[in-house]
């Protein structure tokens, strides 16, 4: 059996080329191991070979992001490894962001699994923890002896396609991904146990640490509504009859954009709801109840508003993740701006 191949990325300092004064060196590909790669090779064992090491100056990488990524990706691609390892970067900020950036690019652009390693306060952690396995290390190169076996352990699991366990078990920094598992006790017993501990003032561990929420600042009021272009957007699932884009009834992975040029009224024959979270009878009878096209046409005729935008955007809010919702809005908000829409009426159910 041929050995699994690994390509290793390090900076100029760990390659022994020099410190800050050499941070502008361009990417360089060397066969075999360099610097910390030696210890890493030892920890990875005989079935895995570090076939090449890429060395790049931290300043060069961060100041020429696109170019540097392109160059490094080409070098990685040449060897087509089973795994890409960047770092460890410890608490070196620019090295950490370089490791994170390139490891993510290798993973996403080349489809090659990647792992990196840094100190928890390295700025690269917050930038890439969601995208990557980042092995937690001490804050300086003095922690190399501990970092190497930790990286090797996770690297071997990734190479062998083994199931990766939780962060504390595997030694990586929490990625913020929720993963289901079966506990030893049912939820009700866990709840009573937790309450008893809380009442006694003992330490307890919540199963879901509360996130910090964004606050959206309300837009400025429209000065003259009679000149405003108004768009309708809904999470109530109103779609042309037959749901042409098959928007899901719950946990939507997409939104629809539909032309209502000349449409004065949404009727039972032409529109319906795809939403799975409420009794659809009334929305199907008259979809204006959720997406008030008829009323806005009246207001348009009366001159109360300038005009109704010719497209409406729609999805089902039912169980749809905040992440998906944000991605939908990021996309169509740009279109609304480009189309000169002054205000949006957002209806929910």
């Amino acid at each position: 059996m041929s050995k699994f191949k690994v390509v290793h990325y390090i900076n100029q300092f760990f390659a022994g080329i020099g410190g800050e004064e050499k941070a502008d060196i361009k990417p360089e590909l060397r066969e075999g191991v360099v610097g910390p790669g030696m210890a890493l090779q030892g920890a990875l064992g005989e079935d895995v070979e570090i076939v090449a090491t890429i060395i790049c100056g931290d300043s060069y990488f961060n100041e020429n992001l696109e170019e540097a990524q392109k160059e490094v990706l080409a070098m990685v691609e040449k060897h087509n490894p089973d795994l890409f390892i960047a770092g460890p970067a410890f608490n070196a900020g620019r090295y950490g962001t370089a490791c994170g950036t390139i490891a993510k690019a290798v993973q996403n652009n080349l489809g090659i699994k990647s792992v990196t390693a840094m100190y928890i306060e390295n700025p690269g952690v917050d930038m890439y923890r969601k995208d990557l396995f980042i092995v937690e290390t001490g804050n300086s190169a003095a922690a190399m002896r501990k970092a190497v076996p930790a990286i090797a352990k996770l690297a071997l699991k990734l190479i062998n396609n083994e199931t990766i366990g939780g962060p504390s078990e595997e030694g990586y920094i929490e990625r913020g991904v929720r993963v289901n598992y079966f506990a030893d006790k049912i939820g009700a017993e866990r709840a009573v146990d937790m309450l008893v501990k809380k009442l006694k003032g003992e330490e307890f561990k919540t199963e879901y640490p509360m996130p910090v929420f964004d606050n959206v600042e309300p837009g400025k009021a429209i000065v003259d509504l009679s000149k405003a272009k108004i768009a309708l957007v809904t999470s109530g699932g109103i779609v042309p009859k037959g749901n042409p884009d098959k928007i899901e009834s719950s946990s939507a992975s997409k939104y629809g954009k539909y032309d209502i040029d000349g449409v004065m009224d949404l009727t039972e024959a032409t529109y319906e709801t795809a939403h799975g979270g409420y009794d659809p009878v009334y929305a199907n009878e008259d979809s204006d109840r959720v997406l008030p096209v008829d009323v806005l046409r009246d207001l348009e005729k009366e001159g109360a508003i300038g005009e109704l935008h010719r497209y409406f955007y729609t999805t089902t809010g039912n169980g749809t993740s905040v992440k998906n919702s944000r991605a939908f809005a990021d996309e169509f908000a740009q279109e609304l701006l480009a189309d000169g829409v002054d205000a949006v009426i957002l209806t929910s159910t």
Partner: protein, 428 residues
């Protein structure tokens, strides 16, 4: 109130000429059950089938699951205000056909019914795969609107469960558990040194087929109130809703509320379990404010030191959950909340629609968006044609070979928020 709950253990279910229980086997007469169900003019037909643990059977679209029970001593009857007259229940003795259930099916909304697999990976996620199920697929008469269909299916299930429960009246239970909660001052004095704990029980009342009934009253129309825990074991609270299958509380869940059982298990040991505060999850903001104000008021009024708050459903009710938690904590009463998560299929989104730092003790029933592949089953009770549209399904969910790829959201009871299951989630 003191209630003896006598369990008659049911190890098998079979068809028979008459409905009866013998040697732990429940015999079901199709004719008797059909006649009972077809009394309702809204129902065109009912198909009765059986599903046992381990069988290669898929039941869908599941509306409700109900445990057969009968009141043998004490005031009132089972499912008061709906099947029996509206008498206050929770005292005396009740018999239970433990291990059996009535499962009602029908394409009521199409989006909001669930799947129960009796074997395979899906069976791990639903407690109902472990029961001997009497399944009823109920077809409405032509032109019946969904809410009328829902009511007809609900009543058919309750009537059948009460009818089968009646078979247990004169049987000798295999096991008897006793649950007792005393009047407030007496209960407080019984264990003066233990922390006084209550249970805030949120009921799904978003309306339009998202309803729960308390002694026959639509819980949308109640203000929060206090119940003895044993009242719930006699069917004071019934499911009438069609929400996502994974986290709706079926009538079976209400009857067997595990938070109530777990609180009783520690009653007199670690805590003094004082009672249950029921509240709703209405969609109007004023209702949310009023109800959460009142639950907080009651926790204080009852002199509680701690409370468990459980949710039903997700999204909109997340706001009720957080309001309850925040206001109860503000009264100086410590809380643990029980919920589930919608963190996206990759688990990387935030899990709830609302949050507050006061909610520092959370128990979760898991991420409902997790994908699962349910292999084809030899037999399907019900129908599959709606599978792509079910909440948690998507275009292509139903594959040509009969397997289903969908979120665990489609599985009845998978991420239950009464803490019925072992499923939970952690951050990776």
């Amino acid at each position: 109130m003191r209630l003896e709950l006598g369990e008659i253990l049911i190890s098998d279910v079979q068809f028979g000429d008459v409905c009866k229980v013998e040697n732990g086997i429940l015999y079901v007469s199709k004719e008797e059950i059909s006649a009972l169900v077809l009394e309702d003019e809204h129902i065109k037909s009912v198909e009765i089938d059986l599903a046992k643990p381990g069988e290669e059977v898929r039941i869908t679209p599941v509306k409700d699951v109900i445990q057969p029970r009968v009141k043998v001593e004490g005031k009132g009857g089972i499912f008061p205000g709906v099947i029996s007259e509206v008498e206050t229940v929770g005292e005396g003795r009740t018999h239970v056909l433990q291990g059996a259930a009535v499962v009602t099916c029908g394409k009521i909304v199409g989006f909001q019914e669930g799947i129960i697999d009796m074997t395979g990976p899906g069976a791990e996620y639903t407690p109902f795969s472990k029961l001997n199920n009497v399944v009823m697929v109920i077809e409405p008469v032509e032109g019946l609107k969904q809410h009328d269909y829902e009511r007809a299916a609900r009543m058919a299930g309750l009537k059948t469960a009460a009818f089968l429960g009646e078979l247990a009246r004169d049987l000798t239970p295999d096991k008897i558990d006793v649950y007792e909660t005393k009047p407030l001052f007496e209960q407080a004095n019984e264990y003066p040194d233990l922390p006084k704990v209550g249970y805030v029980y949120m009921l799904q009342t978003q309306g339009l087929l998202h309803d729960t009934y308390v002694y026959g009253v639509d819980a949308k129309k109640i203000v929060p109130t206090v119940l003895y825990p044993t009242e719930i074991m006699d069917g004071a609270i019934l499911s009438g809703n069609c929400v996502s299958a994974c986290d709706k509380n079926t009538t079976y869940h209400h009857l067997n509320n595990p938070i109530i059982k777990s609180l009783y298990a520690q009653h007199g040991k670690e805590i003094n379990f004082m009672g249950v505060i029921i509240t709703n999850e209405n969609v109007y903001l004023a209702d949310k404010h009023r109800s959460s104000n009142w639950t907080a008021k009651f926790t204080k009024y009852l002199g509680l030191d701690g409370a468990i708050v459980s949710q039903e459903g997700f999204g909109n009710p997340d706001t009720d959950l957080i309001m309850n938690c925040k206001k109860i904590e503000a009264e100086g009463v410590k809380t643990v909340i029980v919920t589930d998560e919608y963190a996206g299929r990759d688990g990387s989104s935030q899990s709830l629609a609302d949050a507050d730092p006061a909610a520092n003790a959370v128990v979760t029933g898991g991420n409902a968006n997790q994908l699962i592949v349910l292999p084809p089953m030899k037999k399907v009770i019900g129908m599959l044609d709606y599978t792509d549209k079910i909440a948690g399904g998507f275009a292509g969910s139903l594959r040509p070979d009969g397997s289903i790829e969908a979120e665990i959201q489609v599985i009845t009871g998978a991420t239950n928020e009464l803490g019925f299951n072992k499923l939970t989630a952690q951050t990776f």
